[in-house]
Structure formats: structure tokens, C-alpha cells
Symmetry: C2
Subunit: 444 residues, 2 copies
Amino acid sequence: MMQEILDLINENKFSQVRDKLTEMNVVDIAQILEELERDKVLIVFRILPKDISADVFSYISREQQAYIIESITDKEISNIVNELFLDDTIDFIEELPASVVKKVLKNTDKDKRNFINQILKYPENSAGSIMTIEFVDLKKEMTIKEALEHVRKTGVDKETIDTCYVIDGHRKLEGVISIRKLILSDEDELVKDVMHTNLIHINTLDDQETAADTFKKYDFLTMPVVDKEKRLVGIITIDDIVDIIEQENTEDFHKMAGMEPSEEEYLKTSPFKLAKHRIVWLLVLMVSATFTGNIIRRFEDVLQSVVILTSFIPMLMDTGGNAGSQSSTLIIRSLALGEVKLNDIFKVIRKELSVSILAGSVLSIVNFLRIYYLEGIAFNVSLTVSITLLFTVILAKLVGGILPILAKKIKVDPAIMASPLITTIVDASALILYFSVASWILNI
Amino acid sequence: MMQEILDLINENKFSQVRDKLTEMNVVDIAQILEELERDKVLIVFRILPKDISADVFSYISREQQAYIIESITDKEISNIVNELFLDDTIDFIEELPASVVKKVLKNTDKDKRNFINQILKYPENSAGSIMTIEFVDLKKEMTIKEALEHVRKTGVDKETIDTCYVIDGHRKLEGVISIRKLILSDEDELVKDVMHTNLIHINTLDDQETAADTFKKYDFLTMPVVDKEKRLVGIITIDDIVDIIEQENTEDFHKMAGMEPSEEEYLKTSPFKLAKHRIVWLLVLMVSATFTGNIIRRFEDVLQSVVILTSFIPMLMDTGGNAGSQSSTLIIRSLALGEVKLNDIFKVIRKELSVSILAGSVLSIVNFLRIYYLEGIAFNVSLTVSITLLFTVILAKLVGGILPILAKKIKVDPAIMASPLITTIVDASALILYFSVASWILNI
């Protein structure tokens, strides 16, 4: 299908292209535009029917959006902006170069421009910044018939009519009613008798992550956003929430690998920026690994008298690091999903203690059998390594389990208490353990 | 609010409790039930109005569901099951003990039981297993007025009426039409003239992850599920997709930390099960860390002639591991989001090469300055360590960038090419590099 259309475009058979495209989903049309060379992009974009072209516009990349806006006439811009939903307009305005934004705002009608400016004022990542103001509002005194009539009259420009909002004269939110309820109710009933009044809403300044958590908790499709005076100012829809959920997950993945989170796509980010995002933690961790060096230097005589001990340092450190990051990952994720709360810390300690004794014992025994019988390492040394391994695993899992919860307690993002940091902490402790056990068992 | 109701329950003021509860969201009522002791759970559950109690039932924990089903009468079970949406019924049937399931199925009417059995046959995590069959179907010859009439008559039992599906006599899917379109269109128009015919659907046996990706791509709220003969058998709704997205993310987090993924909540999982999920990778990685031990033993003479070299091993290994897992995490996540494709491998190599030279040089220079000037390490040794560091970072980032893509190419989940595995691979290479550079610069 895709290839067929690309071929038609290259053969300049545009009327056939138009017929094919109008039958396709706008997301797929946007994808085709991404594949085209610049001169073709404009031609194809212009042959799309007006209502489709605005929709397609909201799905193409920022680069293409900027290019199209720069190339088309003011009248065409005005057509697109008037067809676009407000939240999509804001999405691209926030990320485009100033010159392009200016051209867009110049061709937006005054009302819409005011709304845009108003929403742009909300802080980044706040509920206000992701809401749309295109919703259906009803009055509670309306009959169902009047309400449906109102939906019919005003619904065409709204982002969703699935949920309608009942407000009073001061725009205070009084109730919500689904289109389903409107359709299935008797036409003579009053809105106020059918609407839901147990209202779960979010404030304009709340974080978008809070909004996402509330959507997940209540299985919402839309949620009202109110200002400080509890006036309804907008709604958030689930499609934007799905994006936010993925964005928050990506941030956690990045932080947990010791990087500054970034919303930009990997392939579109410059090497300088990528390096900048990664270097800070690498530097911090490299410098803090100095501890391990100092510990080794302090116990140099131990290592010199039993040289073979050195060769087990990497295995002990790696296993400790891996055991610790398993625990920290589980706890960080459970905290993010709300499955583990701050006051569960003792339950976590108890559980990690049991798990680490179980896992540590198995590892320790397997390791002993392997190095004593297979590799022929001396009994005392094998014992030293295996005992250290057991305690390292226990320690690593406790540290991995506790640190993320403590971080959250002091309002630091638990995600930074992940693998890289745990590894560095556990390494130092593992070495001290190792040398202490060695001094004790080997009498050095 | 919560506390107030808990107090009322403890004072046995149940009529007040009932009034309060009926004004609340079902999710919050479910949360209150979780906090109660068992004898109170049943009382409170029974005072809820019938339509609310089924909804609440779908939000309480599996343990509570099993307890309630075991304790209530057959008639009450039958009421709940008939009020429940089919997909919620299936959700809990899949996870409850057999005895409870038997009691539920015995009290389900025949039609519904047949549907349940049919859906239970779809493989776990397939689109079929998460769909619901409660949707509105229309015929294309209907007028809008007739269609709306049909929605009104049949809509009350449907999970959603936001999208209606147009099917022919053989249940083949011919089009979709949103309730919005139905309401905003002229009543005399025909469904076939208004419906969308560019149909994006999924097959019953497709993976739920594919379903989630399609939802994200097209911003859908619902999607039709068809069988091999293209007959419409069910629909998937966005609320289930949001859960699946989070579940898939959790799986990735677990795999990336070297654990078998688990859907169970951490605090509800036994230590044995937790240990079992973690031990396999710990064992594999521990045994493969033998390499590093062997490398050290092979170069024992190098270490003995310049003892100080030992003390930098942890720092080199940690920094290499961290640098590598940054890259692998970025690439694994980009692959999961579809931002990096298999044929981008050379772009990734080029980018990681630039980034690693940038980041590696900074780290290397900082490290040289620190150990030569601050710690007073000999010039040649400082140089050895810093040069090794640069090449370790380059190597780590290349390995971290390439392995996940290669994994995907041979259809292995890229998520297992994460931190623990990369660390183990990079450690061995870093040591070989270290000793080679040392032999060269220090002439050992």
C-alpha cells in the first residue's frame, strides 16, 4: 500500500494519489509525508482535503511542520490552525522556532490566540499545559433533549463529546455526564438528575504525572481541570495521557541508567547533547570509585601475600552490583506504580533479607564447588571468596531495597538510586568485606 | 473522607455508610474495602446498591474477590456476574482458584458462560484474551435515526458505545462509526454514507503488545478484533491498553536488571519466588565473570611488578559498565518505542562512536589530572590508566549500542542486553585492554 502510493507520487499521478490518501488513516498519511522529498511534501500536503490536512499536520514531525508552515500561504496556515484542535496547536507551537510560531499566531483568530497564550503560560509538564479547552459544557437545568440538542450544535469543534461537563453561572464544575448516559436516558429528564456529582478533577498547576496516575487509578477517558477557584478551565484526554505515561517511563529508564532524561529521539539528538546527558553521572561515579582504589591500596599487603585473591575481585564486585540493582529496580518500579509505599520500608527490608539469604546461599555454594573442585583453588581461599559472596549479596540487596525508599522519603527521585550508584556503593563495601574475611580466615 | 467512612463502619452506622459510599467513585470504595477486616468487608459489600457493587467488585484485589465469592450466596454471585463487563469477569476468572471459578461459572447464564469459555481459549497475552465482546453493531443500510435507536435499545449492556461497528450478514467488519458522528449527522442519512471504511484492526492471535503499539500509533480509544475469516469477534478498549503498556514497561525494567519478569506485586510475592526470578541471571553472570578472574591470573606478573595497577581495576570496570549500560538502555528503550529500527545500526554505531570519544576524552583527562596531580601516582601509571579508560568507554558504548540491535535481529528480546550482561562483557575487555596498555607503556 505504502509503496504503491510512493510510486504514484513519483509518477506524478496526483489525482490517483489523492483518492488513495483520502481512504487512509491520517497517521499513515503522515508517515508517507515523512518519506517524501521536500518538493513532493508540499504538493501532496496541498492535494489533501482541508479537514484531513489539519489532522495529518498534527501527526508529522516538527521539522516537516516547520517546513510546511514556512512554505505555505497565510490563508492556508489560517485554515490549518482553525481546523486543528487547540492542544495539538499548542504542542507544535511549544517546540517550533520563534519565526514559525510568529507566522502561525499571526494567522490565528483572536479568540484562539488568546486561549493559546493562556495555556502557554502554564508551567511545563503541568496539567494546565496539556489540557484542551474544547469540551462541551451543559447547564444542570437543561432537559436531556435540550442537552443533546446543545451537543449537536456545538459538538463539531470539540475534541471529545464523550463526556460533557455541567457548570454553573460562574463556570464552577457541578457534574459530569457521559454521552452514553445522555443517549440512554429519557429525553424529558433533567441533566441534574442524571449527572454524576462525585467529581474527581485535577488542578491546572498539578504535575502531569499526577494526572496520569489519576487516569490509571480510575480508568478515565477524560478528566476535568479546574483552577484555584474550582472553575472548570479545561479537560485532559486519555490520548495525551498515554504519551505522558510513555514519556515518564522513558525518563525513569534514562535516570536509572545514570543519564539526564531527554524527550528527544535518540537518532535526532546531537552527539554533543547525548554526551552532555551522560557525562555528569559518569564523572561522579568515576570519582567516587576512588574509594575502592583506596581500599585496595590500604590492603595491599593482604593482596601481596595471597596474590590469587585479586583474581576474584571482579566476580565479587559484579555479582554484588547485579544483585543490588535487581533489588533497586524492583523497588523503584514498585514505588512508581504505587505498589510499595514509604511506610512499607520494614516489609521491604524483611523481604530482601529473606531473598538475599536464599539467593546468596545458592550463589555461594555453587561458587565454592566451582572454584574449589573445578579450578583447584586452595580450600581456605575458596572459603574466603564464598563467604564474602554470601555477605556481599545480602548487603547489596538490602542497600538496593532501602536506598530508593529513603530517596523518596527525602523527596529525591528514587530512579537515581539505580544500578550505577548501587554498584559504586556495593563495590566499596564488598572489598572491605573481602579483606576482613580474608584477614580472619587466612590469618594475614 | 476515607477516615470518616472507616470510623462510621467501625461504629456500625451502616445506613450513613451507604449514603456516603454511593456518592463515591467505585475505585475509592474498592480501596476502602481493602482496608477493612474480613467480617466488615462482607457487610459493607452487601449494603452497596447492586449496580455499584459489581463495579466495585472489579476493582478489589484477587484475594478479596475470592473471599467474597466464597462467602456470598449463589443468587448474589449471579447478580454480580450479570452486571460485570465480560472482560472484567474474565480477568478475575483467569487468576482465581479453581473452586471459586467453578462457583462463578455455575451461577453465570449459559450465553455468557459460552462467551467466557470462548475467550479463555485464546492464548495468554493475545489480543483475543483481552478483548470484550460487548460492543454495539450496526448494519450499513440503517439510517442514522435507526442506528441511534438501536444504540439506545442495546447500549446499556455494552462496555462502550463511543464507537459502533458496522457488520454484514456474515459478521464481516465493513466500517466503524463514532457515536459523535451519529449524533452530529443528519438523521435521514444512511450509516454506509457516514461510516469510516479505512479499517485498522487486529487479529485475535496477535500479541497484546502489537495491540498496544497500534493504539499508541493511531491514538485510538477502541479497536476491532477480527478472526482469520475477518469476522468481527470483539473490541479492545483503551483502559485495558493502558494497563498493558505499564505491564510491558515493568517487564522491560525487570529484564533489564537481569530478572525474570513478573506480573505479581512485589509485596505479595513470596521470597522463594522472588529469589527464583533473580537467581538464574546472577548464576550465569557469576560464572561468566570467571573470565575476568582468568585474565587477571594470566597477567599476574604484570600486577606483581606494578602493584598499584590493581587499585584502578574497580574504577575502570565500573566506569566501563556504567558507560555501556547508558548506551544499551537508550537503544533498548528507543527500539521499544520504535524510534530506532534494525537498519539504523550504522547510524547508531556512528553516533555512539562520536559520543564515546567525547565522553571518554573528558573522563580520561579528568582522571589523569586527578590521579597524577592529586593522588601523586607515577606519570606512566597515570597515563596507562587514563588511556585504558578512554578505550574502555569507547568499547563499552559500542557494545552497549550494538548488542540490543543484534539481539532484536535474531529475535531475542533486546531488554536482556542490558546493564548486567554489558557489565560482564565490558569487564573482561577492559581488563585485557588495561594489561595490554600497561605492558606497552610500562614495558613489562
